[in-house]
Symmetry: D2
Subunit: 312 residues, 4 copies
């Protein structure tokens, strides 16, 4: 996240600017505006702009003429009702815009959230930074034995060291060759006037998937919650979860009542199938239910017992 | 557009509020905020919130760290380039939210723009206002003879008067029966304690399509331009065009450089097919081209000559 | 649902046609193709085309080269896994297209599902049919006292009869005036050569919201499930639920394994908030929990007890 | 595009299968079904399924009861009208599904088309193939001097050879290290039982952006045309254009009337701004217009003269 002097200057100016507005304004989020919050080794998330607040959700749900902020308690109740019953349109009435720096393999997961606006740094047009994600030792995990798309224990000792060496050396070598093919350095200065240099749109293909890219990403609050719910989940890959956690903090600052309802009714919620609910009812009636007679597969049984905090 | 005292009070409070913000702010649009601009006989459009400005388009296109407002002239050039080459994503980085009151048959055209966020006043939950669109005399047009979905001359005299009488009487009678079925007045007060009253979600079906509804409608700038381009077009039905024109004025206040580029490259632009372009080239070469040998159908020929300002 | 002789002829021809294809084909759905299934008093739903089947979901989830139908049991297991964990993209790989005739007030709810393709019959271009929805006596319900957007008991006797009279008379009178203003009958024949007739796009505004319109509606399987889940729910308005039920039958014929998983994990499922789950755990541990000490609002407590089949 | 014996067997079975259907069927596209058409050095495009045909566009535009194929000439005229006036919804009524193998840097451009359904091969779950895109000598272009995101001349001699060596060696070395870190070969067989192996979701980050991935990609015809228009354009990067060209061939086979209208009114069309049209009119009136007095910037003037086939 090494910013140039010019970038730091731009940030400082943006942060120093003040204007008067009639729009809904959230001081807690204003305090965060423009400031890059570090994520992973070279990434960041910074809030660039926002529209609306908790009251804007209520205002839209009621199609009201004013701001409707008179009764904060009542607003909180309505927001909780809307979240519990999975209403979506009132939450679409708030919008937030982030500037994010992230490894390409994370960007490839992230972009699958289609209902968002994106402007990405163009490697056809510009030269990429010499920055690569290298996992911290505690995140260098082995393949999980039980979950084909998960992680197991953390690698140790020589194996860990060797893996890190390979990742580092390959990233840097490929980047050096990228510049060599471009015949240009990071600022675009020609290296060897006798050569032409490969087109940027081709040379970039030599970069590794841990290279950092960046983008502006703008979404409405409803789709932000979907993003946070999926990517903040313990089953999400750690590297994208790290971004979701920082964005969760901006959510708390921005729309505290929505964030609270989101934690209660989405993040902490469980969904039981018809058959699972039947098992819960039988258990509540004092029956001794076992997987065999439960109507659930072994996998579902295990999932249910885990959620109920009981031995499987 | 008769607002209640409570609504006027809410509006006045919203307009009086001021806060300090670090966000991009557009004074010309701030001056318009919250104020309902009348459209048709009882409708309105009011801007409720916005995100971004001309510079935000540039900032996103460049994925820059700051606001990038130093060189207004350069920004204008980039905006014109982006518009001319139909780039869309940088324009998606601005967002605007309107509160609109509009006849239901207009709402049915409008809602076809799917890439927007909408919260509509619920006739399942609430009682509709006693307001109906009745065309002004100059908009009471006959069916076009040449265009199956267009208008011809304005109706005159007895026919016009009769049509207006029918529209007015049917709207009002149906509304009166709506309240009678509901067994409630506009404020929900029960009319006859001996009756139950039909469910709101059913009674509403007796209303006519010129009844006014209202909604919050939020969209990004790119999709707003698509809306204005389609609905501000002379071929659009007058009643929705009246809304587009008011929104065009908010566009000019909000993002003047984008609005200028939009007028030049979208509103005033023409598209020629491969065959039409061929005809233009032959004409420029001094050839006397006629429809017969032009490769164009009669309809296309007529369209082309019209756009070139020549007799067909 | 009175079809003209020409329409019946078209239907018969479409149904009689046969072709050979290499595409996945579902005989049970083929048998339903093109046949209008009546809904409400004049509406219908008919399946016009489809793409994919149960195996296509599996094939996409595996990004496989062939059809992957060898192990039906294994396919079913994967489909249930995908549904349980709310995977969406594999279900987007199937597509279905309906032709629907429906009252305008139902169409206005339906169109809120934005991720679908729609072509609606144009009342700017064509003349609307003389058909209106009138509730059957058992659906003529009073406003619910407890739920502002729900129905209570069925209206009886004189009140019911009066309501039906009003609905019928207003619909027909307004339609007659619609034709009078158009100066044309249902086939477009001019009524009075001395008059011009109001433009179609204006005259339509005199119609009531129970007039029938029709459209082609096409969606992917994932979004169809969202539609069925929301509109097939007991809280949905009866009139749209009637359509959802007919479409549910086409789902069962088309993708039986997906339909089964959908019933188990979506339709019959319940979602408990973090606090609700805590209450369930305490109850399972034998504790006597009451609303007061549950951390739930009265409303939430009532909802939870209802789902657990316990007295509130 | 080396397929395994099992994959070839699956393909052969899919191609051999035949079923009877009542759905619209296009023999020319049926003949192409399932067959991978090679693109670049290891990629392919194959059509996996489709819905609709030329007549389905007409059928939806007319909201008709039957197939409406009686008058092919009339259908062609309507399709041309719809395309010329940029109607979109009737074209959304056809759908096509592809299986594509493509380099990751191409996939990153492609995925920006948001209105499509995608299932991509998961590198969290599976091991990637040892296949990388290496440009053919005639596509190994230098950076353009005039266009920051374009290509110039083809690299020659030693520089070309060196660039290709770097690309090849880096791709293969990084892949070998990927397997070494995974501690597994392409089929997932453990290499060294004494080691754990890095999680797949982490090891993949060592791959280069020219590694091949694959996905199922499904879209409606309207959005396919947008894709082909943008990605088949001479300004698109060659590597994605190569895919667009193969897909254009499937379009011609599938919906020949739509493809013809698309070539005439979209691919071959030009758009002139209000100012450009003014210049054309002045030229047609015999005036000698020059850039200075044209109201156009130098860049716009050059673009206009190019399109009119005149010296700038």
């Amino acid at each position: 996240m090494a910013l140039t002097a010019a970038q730091l200057q731009e940030l400082a100016e943006a942060k120093a600017a003040r204007a008067e507005t009639r729009r809904p304004t959230v001081p807690a989020l204003e305090a965060m505006l423009f400031e890059p919050v570090p994520v992973l080794d070279h990434g960041f998330v910074r809030v660039v702009d926002y529209m609306g607040d908790d009251a804007a959700v209520v205002q839209a749900a009621r199609v009201s003429y004013g701001r409707g902020t008179k009764a904060v308690l009542e607003d909180r109740g309505l927001i909780r009702y809307l979240m519990r019953h999975r209403h979506s349109t009132p939450f679409e009435m708030c919008e937030i815009k982030y500037h994010v720096k992230l490894p390409i393999f994370v960007a490839r997961q992230w972009i699958r959230h289609r209902t968002a606006n994106v402007n990405e740094y163009s490697a056809r047009y510009s030269i990429m930074d010499r920055e690569f994600y290298l996992p911290a030792p505690e995140h260098l995990a082995a393949q999980s034995a039980s979950n084909r798309q998960g992680r197991g224990e953390v690698l140790q000792g020589a194996e860990a060291a060797h893996v890190l060496d390979l990742l580092r050396e390959d990233s840097l070598r490929n980047y050096d060759h990228y510049q060599e093919m471009l015949n240009a350095d990071e600022e675009g200065k020609v290296l060897d006037p006798a050569r032409q240099g490969l087109a940027r749109e081709l040379a970039r293909m030599n970069l590794t998937l841990n290279a950092y890219t960046q983008w502006y990403w703008k979404t409405d609050l409803h789709n932000l919650l979907n993003f946070l719910s999926l990517r903040g989940d313990p089953h999400a890959q750690y590297e994208i979860r790290a971004y979701a956690e920082v964005m969760m903090a901006s959510l708390e600052a921005w729309v505290p009542a929505v964030a609270e309802a989101f934690r209660d009714y989405r993040l902490g919620a469980v969904t039981f199938s018809a058959q699972m609910l039947e098992v819960v009812k039988r258990l509540l009636a004092g029956e001794a239910v076992e997987q065999a007679g439960s109507g659930l597969s072994r996998r579902e049984w295990r999932e249910l017992m885990e959620q109920l905090g009981r031995p499987a």
